[in-house]
Amino acid sequence: MKNRFLEVSRDAESKQEERFDIWLSGKGIPFADPDAEAAYRERVTLLQDAIQLRRRPSRIPICPSAGFFPVQYAGITLYEAMYDYEALKRACEKYHEDFSPDAHNSPVNIVPGKVMDILDLRLFKWPGHGVSKDGEYQFVEKEYMKAEEYQDLIDDPTGFFLNAYFPRIFGSLEPFSAFPLLPPVHEMPLIPAALMPFGSKAMQSALQALGQAGEEALRWRAVAGEINGRIMGKGYPAFSGGFSKAPFDVIGDSLRGTKGIMLDMFRHPHELKEACGRLTPSMVKCGVAGCRATGHIMPFIPLHKGADGFMSQEQFATFYWPSLRKLIIGLINEGLVPLLFAEGGYNDRLEVIADIPKGKAVWWFDRTDMKKAKDTVGRVACLAGNVPLDLLCTGTPGEVETYCRKLIDDAGRDGGFILSSGAGIQGSKPANVKAMIDFSKQYGVYG
């Protein structure tokens, strides 16, 4: 147990095989016809071969990050997609029908607006709620946790989230500051005291809001499930099926903010490191739970604050990488394949992040030199990336093809590569997206 996040366990290999078998089986997917089922299997096999690095796939799988592009392409606003589930359904299907990428991006990132309304979420602004209806939802950076509160977080992360964090980010859950913490109810005389907070009108309306938001989330989940079923049923496997984050990013993005965590590296280094370690098991569980629910093998892990420029090499090795590596090993030991999406540049980090077991993760890059990546991380992990967004948004199909050709020459040799975009492709010209997918499908065939 002591090394559960440090060393690869003996059964990691067999667990991974089991998970791949489940994913490949497509069990429960309502396939349209046998051809669709065969296409699904063929695409999962392309991805499995690329990931495991044991043999070259028959061609390079093409899996861009759809982002909000399907919504724009369907001619609707993100507001409509977040509030009108039928509109969302049409948008997702149209994108796959017209572009035929090798994997499906489940619409989980197009969240139900009504749920956020009910909870009075303060962590984001979204269309019709702080930004215009044709805008994108955006994060509101703040110090949601003060530097003095590190010890509270370390002592009891669940308690801190329940009593301090939720009341700050959800207006409707302010009464949760009085939510009794476990475990108090182990002696009969303690039960009445533990129940008193639930007697207040304020707490009751908070719980009611939670119930309503939960019902709405289920309605949305049913629609998302239908969308996923229909698209996968046409032969497109999902690209990922769970979610987790680097512990440093949990603290930097959600709790302390960019400025806060950057100063903490100087002012509170020990607390910061301890808190990262404390959050690691929760982040492993988070990724496992998501993949278990979807039957998928890849939890999506967007990486934010470890990018080039955001910290020195020494800071990366001290603060960012140790707990991220533990998360990676923890997920691998569950048979999962972490899909690590390194936003920004990772050119300075390539040597450090190559310290992972072979054939068990995907490193997805944005503004990273893919040739350098292939010679370093590419020896141990499948690479994905990195058609840049500036090119997709402002370039021409010819320029996109030229880029993809070089990308495949640099990063695609001998397999171990998934061609993708450097970030969510919202704002891209449809002709450029088409050029990226169609050209790469042909040029990416291994002879």
């Binding site: 960019t258 950057m262 100087f266 910290m311 500036d390 704002g427 891209s428």
Partner: protein
């Protein structure tokens, strides 16, 4: 006299830098010479950033130390003349985008480099930029944006500045997120800066004063 303060600032020793500042004031040091020391320290920090020794957290920390030092010396500054600015820069995040960390960092560095900066905030329409150019009369306009939707907002803003007849009065620099040379060409801006210090270099080049 101010050598230890400079060393503390450059080496990111916050407690020591603040202690040195208080001690200098106790010894009746001219607050202006403390400000000069801060500028010299920031120059050294900027150099370390450019050579790849320091990164964004170090700039943040330097900014935080300077903020506190300026609060400490403020009461002693009454009556002192503020130095004349090296030039005026208008800063803002373009329409539809609410991100501000990059913009704030450039604003801070411009100020420590002696520029007079008007920061009009986030999600600013082309009209707001034009209005601010008319009133503030900057030599340089800095536009920031993290999202891809900022590309069009930047292009619209440059166009609005053109239509208002102000294009030849200002140099325009852009930065943030996925912005690149390619986006510079798309928007019609004069230059793109890959990081905060690059923005300062551009402003200095254009306004001169070095």
């Amino acid at each position: 006299m101010t050598e230890s303060l400079i060393r503390a600032l450059v080496e990111m020793q916050e407690d020591e830098a603040l202690r040195e500042t208080r001690q200098l004031l106790d010894e009746d040091t001219d607050p202006l010479s403390i400000i000069d020391a801060c500028s010299r320290a920031m120059e050294a920090v900027g150099k370390r950033f450019e050579t790849g020794e320091y990164f964004l957290p170090h700039l943040m920390m330097a900014g935080e130390m300077l903020r506190q030092i300026s609060e400490i010396i403020k009461p002693k500054m009454r009556g002192d003349k503020v130095r004349k600015g090296r030039g005026r820069v208008l800063m803002g995040t373009v329409k539809g985008d609410i991100h501000d960390i990059g913009k704030n960092m450039v604003t801070f560095l411009l100020q420590t480099n002696g520029f007079e900066v008007l920061d009009i905030g986030i999600d600013q329409s082309p009209e707001k930029f034009v209005e601010a150019i008319r009133n503030f009369k900057p030599q340089v306009v800095g536009m920031s944006g993290l999202l891809t939707l900022a590309f069009d907002s930047m292009r619209d803003t440059v166009q609005a500045i053109q239509e208002a007849g102000l294009r030849d009065k200002v140099r325009i620099m852009i930065g943030g997120g996925q912005v690149s040379e390619k986006v510079k060409a798309y928007t019609g801006a004069d230059a793109y800066g890959p990081d905060a210090v690059a923005g300062i270099r551009l402003a200095k080049q254009w306004v001169g004063g070095d």
